[in-house]
């Protein structure tokens, strides 16, 4: 395998979980609720998924791939349930959405770290701060993977990559084509118009945040499988914030956000590859990780006029206010 192929494969497997978390962020923010909680949501999702696998470890034969799909399901559930905290705080309790997001991240880290250690110690009887997951199998699509260079896109795939692509397509369809998606996007622009049309704004936002939680959870467990094959507090690497950078870069639209996440993913894997090729110390890869954030910041500076956050983003919707 050439360095280039590796870079493409790794870039893709990093970009896609990032993308699905960013889509979650888009759902929440297009409905008008700032979501800085993605970092915490993905961690909580990954925790619940990993916990389910750990607890059910005896049920499946060794080497079975079923636990991984189960983990994804539970991760989505876990992220969704935990996102209710953000929903209740922002929609019902009228809390400041930025504060709520920050607090949810702090709490997620504290809660999952505590529970992981405590469950390992009391339930499983083995002091440890992580849950070990099985390794995910990988596959290549016959034929397509044989294409020179571009074939790398279809080589050595994680199963979750296909799942993410499928979920992303559904998410796109729902957001842009269905009545629910239409209500959701309207809530982020002018919630009063939605209310006047007889649609309950808080209900739409609740659902949007829950979808955001589920997708973040999915992203989190995918990272857990691809990066370390385990759940540990190391899951809080700040990729949730990178997803936010991605959706801002993508102007709160799904397709451009995919582009942003791919750029981020390839910047990272390309960086790793370059440091290898040039025989540099591993530390140099950190310099490449600066790129996504720097590019986003520069983009905001130079194109601040064409970057449009949803108009009602962050505002507390007060039904009585006319």
């Amino acid at each position: 395998m050439t360095i280039l192929t590796t870079a493409i494969i790794d870039g893709l497997s990093f970009a896609l979980p990032l993308f699905i978390m960013a889509i979650g962020g888009i759902y929440s923010e297009r409905s008008g609720v700032t979501n800085l909680a993605i970092e915490g949501l993905q961690g909580m999702g990954a925790f619940v998924g990993a916990l389910a696998v750990t607890l059910l470890a005896g049920v499946f034969p060794a080497g079975s791939q079923a636990p991984m799909y189960l983990a994804m399901l539970f991760a989505m559930l876990g992220g969704m349930v935990y996102s209710l905290v953000h929903a209740v705080l922002c929609v019902k309790f009228r809390a400041d959405q930025v504060i709520s997001g920050v607090v949810i991240n702090i709490l997620a880290m504290a809660l999952t770290t505590f529970l992981t250690s405590q469950i390992n110690a009391t339930v499983l009887g083995a002091p440890s701060n992580k849950f070990v997951l099985g390794t995910s199998n990988r596959f290549s699509i016959p034929g397509l993977s044989g294409i020179p260079v571009l074939g790398a896109v279809f080589t050595n795939l994680y199963p979750f990559e296909l799942i993410i692509v499928a979920v992303a397509f559904i998410a796109w369809y729902v957001l842009y084509r269905t009545p629910f998606g239409m209500h959701l996007r309207a809530c982020g622009d002018n919630p009063h118009a939605v209310d006047a049309a007889g649609v309950e704004v808080s209900l739409v936002r609740f659902r949007a945040i829950m979808i955001s939680g589920a997708l973040s959870g999915l992203g989190g467990i995918c990272f857990a499988y691809s990066i370390s094959a385990q759940f540990s507090p190391g899951i809080y690497m700040g990729y949730g914030y990178l997803a936010i950078a991605g959706l801002i870069f993508g102007n709160w639209q799904i397709l451009p956000t995919l582009g942003a996440c791919l750029i981020f993913g390839f910047a990272r894997s390309g960086g790793f590859a370059l440091t290898q090729v040039m025989g540099l110390k591993a530390a140099f890869s950190d310099l490449f990780m600066i790129l996504p954030y720097l590019i986003t910041l520069l983009l905001l500076v130079f194109f601040s006029k064409s970057n449009h956050p949803p108009r009602a983003l962050g505002e507390i919707y007060d039904k009585g206010k006319r």
Binding site: R177, P179, H183, R185, D189, A193, A197, R311
Partner: protein, 511 residues
């Protein structure tokens, strides 16, 4: 009650904290008529119709629709009863097309591949186009709301009602935001709706419009129903008298003016909005001491931008402004205050006051940095308090806890009193009043008018901007009429009639 009423309101009373907005009001509206609700600001017209539209419920009384008693608990229930309302602030999604806005909430659906539900935009566009055609509304379903003007947005709101098959259409002050031509167009549409069998309720305080379209008219004053009149057979003067609740005297006893030296000179001023469009074009005028210079015009013609530019809140794109011989064109707001400009802004709550601060802080908002409030960067709370107490006494500002009252909890009238007190106390040679009486009751209005005249007689130069022509006619010494960012006519007030000013406001250059 008599038959044939599509809507009947019986003994409706609605209370808000500290006020009775509607006091035992009974009226009936016939199917297929244009029924106007006339009254001043705060008379309770909007409240009454908000109850018909389900935004509030009455404390007492009954609402009957089509001969059936209804409890209208929400706007969506009102919609089910085929009642629709166009609010003063439009409720539109700015990044959606016109058709998308119209179908929002009741989208036509189809199934992709016979399976996945999706919004049928094609049918939405067709239906919108058809409705627009039928009522002569002239809208293009595929244009985005953010790209169309206010008048078109209003017609989208009308289409939203029609799409929901509304039979009873409520318009809340629909002409306040429109130009004269657009008003003509709207009134034509409203007549068309009636001719199609719809019932139209028009909330307004403009007599002229009622005279032009309404069949009958209910007059409200301070929450009470005064009378219901047959419009074609009633004179405008009668309606005006009933509306205000006393003999309207348009010729307020105003002492003659004594003009002094020139205080403000504005030369070739051009102001651009955010998108670079000129909203004030090459405008020149001057104000002398002891003179009230009033700018008349329909809302949104650039008058507020003139005030903001003179006060320094909006930069001038070109032109000069001279205050007492000093060029202030590029001066900062603070510098202009120090040189002598007081400013009562249009939006008292979001610009004129800091609602979370107490009264003492708000009264010192323009002077906090001067001695004795502040010495060498350190504040002197005692000075704030003493000054606050003094102004509360002198200007009769009523508040629950004196200078410690949070301004948010004060009534609109007292909030305005606080701003006026603060700005008058600056003793500036130039005072700018923008819509100083908007939303206030008659007593408060007269009070503020007296203060404006008193300041004039002390030799201040006063720039008055108002949408109320009556206010301008009764206060101004000189009138400038603005239309589309240009001062079309500047003349001494006694040489202009209300009618002539109205002509210029509509953009007619030759009177």
């Amino acid at each position: 009650m008599a038959e044939g009423y599509i809507v009947e309101m019986r003994h409706i009373t609605k209370r808000f904290p500290g006020i009775i907005a509607n006091d035992d009001i009974s009226l009936g509206i016939k199917k297929g008529e244009i029924f106007a609700l006339l009254g001043e600001n705060g008379a309770g017209k909007s409240t009454l119709m908000s109850m018909l539209f389900g935004m509030y419920e009455p404390n007492e009384g009954e609402i009957w629709v089509r001969g059936k008693r209804e409890r209208i608990v929400s706007p969506s229930y009102a919609t089910k009863l085929n009642i629709g309302m166009v609010h003063q602030h439009f409720k539109l999604v700015s990044n959606y097309t016109i058709a998308e806005n119209i179908i929002l909430g009741i989208e036509p659906k189809r199934r992709l591949a016979g399976l996945l539900p999706m919004v049928d935009l094609k049918s939405a566009n067709e239906k919108t186009a058809a409705l627009s055609e039928r009522y002569g509304l002239e809208v293009d379903p595929t244009r985005k709301i953010e790209d169309v003007n206010v008048s078109t947005q209003q017609r989208v709101e009308i289409l939203k009602m029609l799409y929901r098959e509304a039979e009873i259409l409520i318009f809340d002050e629909p002409t306040a935001v429109l130009t004269p031509q657009e008003i003509d167009f709207l009134l034509k549409i409203i007549r068309g709706l009636r001719d199609d069998g719809k019932t139209v309720i028009l909330i307004t305080h403009k007599l002229e419009e009622i005279k032009r379209v309404a069949d009958r008219c209910a007059i409200l004053n301070r929450g009470r129903l005064i009378d219901v009149l047959d419009v074609p057979t009633t004179s405008t003067q009668t309606m005006a008298n009933l509306m205000v609740g006393r003999q309207v005297d348009f010729s307020v006893g105003k002492p003659p003016a004594h003009f002094g030296r020139e205080v403000l000179r504005v030369d070739h001023l051009t102001v651009k909005n955010r998108t670079g469009f000129p909203v004030v074009k090459d405008t020149s005028f001057s104000i002398r001491s002891g003179e009230i210079f009033a700018i008349a015009g329909v809302s949104g013609n650039g008058q507020v931008e003139i005030a903001d530019a003179v006060a320094g809140l909006t930069p001038a794109a070109s032109g000069t402004m001279i205050l007492n011989g000093k060029d202030i064109t590029h001066a900062a707001v603070r510098e202009r205050t120090d040189l002598g400009i007081s400013y009562i802004p249009e939006d008292r709550q979001s610009v004129g006051l800091v609602l979370d601060f107490d009264l003492a802080d708000n009264l010192a908002l323009k002077t906090y940095y001067r001695s004795p409030f502040c010495e060498k960067g350190i504040l002197n709370p005692a000075a704030f308090d003493a000054y606050g107490e003094k102004l509360i006494g002198e200007y009769d500002i009523r508040s629950g806890q004196g200078i410690r009252t949070g301004v948010r909890s004060m009534s609109g009238g007292n909030q305005q009193k606080a701003i006026v007190a603060r700005e008058i106390e600056l003793e500036s040679p130039l005072m700018i009043f923008v819509q100083p009486t908007r939303g206030l009751d008659i007593g408060a209005i007269e009070n503020i008018h007296r203060q404006i005249l008193a300041e004039r007689d002390k030799g201040r130069a006063i720039l008055l901007i108002s949408l109320e022509l009556d206010e301008i006619m009764s206060l101004a010494d000189t009138i400038g009429v603005i239309y589309s960012g240009e001062l079309l006519k500047i003349a001494p007030a006694e040489r202009l009639t209300t009618n002539e000013v109205g002509q210029f406001m509509m953009g007619v250059k030759q009177a």
